[in-house]
């Protein structure tokens, strides 16, 4: 809407664009504050700012990448993170052959130094691109070191304390979500 040059919107328009009812929009927003004006609606830039603040995407997050194989390399080379508030600051692998080499401009560090690094630099988010068989043990180390969120590229289900958030990137799972509907 900002790109379209619009200044004000309403719960009705937001609902229409998002496929929700206007009541849902107002109810959800009201959980976090009063962002609109009666009779007028919502100022779009103000609302966007508030939403970014609420979701904590109004800052730059540092990320540790674990795993420098094919998948890790693809992730490290992906250019879409920085623009959208995320920055890989460290890359780790366990393979002595890889340690010291570079991928995507990052030096590959030894996982042995990972826990201490993460504690020191207070990195909160990690991306996991290790083989499925290693994912749980690496996760345990990350959690122990104070990581609070993990984006996991391995096709496994990780066990973590409730306080740690996990999201998975598994293209096959996404495909499987759709086959049911395909005839």
């Amino acid at each position: 809407m900002i790109a379209e040059g619009k200044v004000i919107t309403s719960s009705q328009e937001l609902g229409q664009r998002l496929g929700l009812s206007s009541a849902q929009i107002r109810k959800d927003l009201s959980q976090f504050g009063e962002f609109g004006k009666q009779g007028t609606g919502y100022n779009i830039t103000f609302l966007a700012e508030q939403l970014r603040r609420i979701l904590k995407v109004d800052q730059l997050w540092n990320i540790a990448l674990v795993g420098a194989g094919d998948l890790g390399r693809a992730v490290a080379n992906y250019g879409g993170f920085f623009d959208r508030g995320f920055r890989i600051t460290k890359v780790y692998d366990i393979d002595p052959q890889k340690i010291g080499q570079r991928i995507g401009g990052f030096i590959i560090h030894d996982v042995a130094s990972m826990a201490a690094d993460i504690r020191k630099t207070k990195i909160k988010i990690a991306m996991l691109a290790v083989p499925a068989a290693d994912a749980q043990s690496v996760t345990d180390k990350l959690v122990e070191a104070g990581i609070q969120a993990i984006l996991c590229y391995a096709p496994v289900s990780l066990k973590v304390p409730e306080s740690v958030k996990i999201q998975y990137i598994d293209p096959v799972l996404r495909l499987q979500h759709m086959t049911y509907y395909v005839s």
Copy 2:
């Protein structure tokens, strides 16, 4: 459970492992049939077979990949599809420089021939790894050609008819789902 050598399970055990109530397990399964035995529970291999059939993941699905840039190359080289019932059979790009070359063992074909190919081969699922700016126009062509499900790697929101299913792979979106909970 199969790997663990177990033969029979119950709605209670399934619920426990999945973080759901036993009633939820029974209710959901009963939507599709009667898979258990009173007093005994569910035969695990039989249940798994039935679930695969219901979800249509008991077959090999052919997939068209559109876009042979960095992302497309990574997708084409990803070895995890075939084992899990998906096979890329065609790769397309619009760049004359790329057409005829190979990525991940696939010859890159001209998008100009895509619609006719898809109609002829009856491919139902496509993966989209084109620049965000091209995603909608390519999607329109795919839908027109009869594609029923699209896995989109571009960070955009695609407009498609209700009958077409879409799933997105956007690591930044996944990261943004977690920042709210990170302190």
